[in-house]
């Protein structure tokens, strides 16, 4: 199986590659159109800031490529936010796969939301073998709103938000499966089995 991890200016991409290595899967970090197009699975990691990331993707026309792909695709953290319509982070127009807005947490508790939080309202094969006592690791200040059509798991911090999204071949997760112990490994394995 060929797994392509999209190379752009996101931080800590190594963690995703190492997590794949631990699962015994060979993943390639690449921004090459052909390599990404013919990969069996595509992972779109992320950590950083939305507007800079979108600018980088547009300059390299990776935004178009992402919208054209038809194999299972997995956006992680900022990767999830960039797949939405719009992010409040520097007023950024995103990729628009999910008709959802990304908002900043109101300052009603500590922000960023850092640490382990559980998944609720789990749906789809991506979450097979997991239940509401499954915790994943989060580090983020912005969150995707809930859309009953596309939200396949929620998490509560300050308010309920989309922990995971799904539409056609596109899956996305706000937390970091690559840092979420055995729960994260299950999610990644489920994705690889899609």
């Amino acid at each position: 199986m060929e797994v392509a991890v999209i190379k752009y200016n996101a931080g800590n991409v190594k963690s995703v590659l190492y997590a794949m290595e631990r699962l015994g899967v060979n993943a390639t970090l690449t921004d090459d159109w052909e390599t990404i197009k013919k990969a069996d699975k595509v992972i779109f990691p992320g950590q950083g800031e939305a507007s800079t990331a979108m600018k980088y993707l547009r300059e390299r026309k990776l935004d178009q490529l992402i919208k054209e792909l038809d194999q299972p695709f997995f956006g992680i953290c900022l990767g999830l936010q960039l797949l939405c319509d719009y992010s409040e982070e520097y007023d950024t127009e995103c990729l628009g796969i999910f008709p959802i807005n990304v908002k900043k947490f109101p300052p009603l508790n500590k922000v960023p939301h850092i640490g382990w939080n559980n998944l609720e309202n789990l749906k789809t094969p991506l979450l097979e073998g997991l239940d509401e006592s499954s915790y994943v690791y989060y580090v983020h200040s912005y969150y995707a709103e809930i859309n009953p059509k596309y939200t396949i798991a929620t998490t509560h911090y300050i308010n309920d938000f989309s922990a995971m999204l799904h539409k056609d071949n596109y899956y996305a997760m706000q937390g970091h499966p690559e840092k979420s112990s055995v729960v994260g490994e299950k999610i990644l394995n489920n994705f690889l089995k899609l």
């Binding site: 800590n12 997590a19 800031e49 500590k110 939301h113 640490g115 559980n118 915790y135 055995v182």
Partner: protein, 253 residues
């Protein structure tokens, strides 16, 4: 619900764990990678690796170690010890560290906190504060707690939060090594005052101490070293104790 975090801390010298480790499962008691993996498997929520090497070769050894940890461990980890420049931080994050921790360097040059937060994002910048109470006033200390400064802990914590720190690792020098419990008063004061998480460190001696620091101390996370290394408190036992007492913690699958 967001859980309280349990964080074992490993002191590293020349790429090896020091301060004594007493683990029967370990083939090699000094290997921080192996120890880190055991803690991760037992249910630790994060790890901290504190480099106390004092040689010029340290950076290379540390980056190699961070790479090995990142390949092996499936939970987040922070690296601290002698970090001061953007290049230091870049090398460690690129090797796979999730966060870095700075201490003396931030006191020496507070602008470094702004610069690091801008370059890498607040979420990966932990500022460590060593605090000691002198005549009823809390003062920041540097150089492993040996050097007093004129900075008041509360004011310094507020300042570095405004400068972009993502978390504070608060070590009470009065409590560290004594095993009489964490400094719940100042931990609670900082945690209530600040908009960022506070990790409490120094003084863990019993499971009840963790309960106290999460409730009375309002800590977001608690860090300890020797009580974990010497298996005085196994992590699974600690977590089930806290769970029974109603503290929200992450249970392993």
């Amino acid at each position: 619900m967001l859980t309280k975090r349990i964080i074992p801390c490993l002191d590293i010298k020349d790429g090896r764990t020091v301060k004594g480790v007493n683990f029967v499962e370990l083939r090699d008691a000094g290997d921080p990678v192996e120890l880190g993996k055991i803690y991760a498997d037992e249910g630790a929520d994060e790890l901290v690796f504190l480099d106390i090497t004092a040689t010029v070769e340290k950076r290379k050894t540390l980056v190699e170690l961070v790479t090995k940890v990142a390949k092996t461990v499936n939970i987040p980890f922070t690296v601290g010890g002698g970090i001061s420049t953007i290049d230091d931080v870049k090398a460690l994050l690129n090797a796979g560290a999730d966060k870095i921790s700075i201490n003396s360097a931030a006191v020496k040059n507070p602008d470094a906190v702004n610069a690091l937060a801008r370059e890498f994002g607040s979420q990966c910048i932990v500022v460590a504060i060593d605090t000691k109470r002198i005549d009823g006033i809390d003062f920041v200390h540097t150089h492993g707690g040996r050097k007093p400064t004129l900075l008041k802990t509360q004011e310094w914590a507020k300042e570095i939060t405004e400068r972009g720190a993502g978390e504070i690792l608060l070590t009470s020098m009065d409590h560290d090594g004594v095993k009489n419990g964490f400094a719940n008063d100042i931990t609670s004061e900082l945690s209530s005052m600040l908009s960022i998480p506070v990790i409490a460190s120094g003084g863990a001696g019993s499971m009840q101490h963790f309960h106290d620091v999460f409730t009375a101390g309002k800590a977001d996370a608690a860090l300890a070293a020797s009580i974990f290394h010497f298996k005085e408190i196994p992590i699974p036992e600690l977590k089930s104790f806290l769970d029974k007492k109603g503290v929200n913690i992450r249970r392993m699958l």
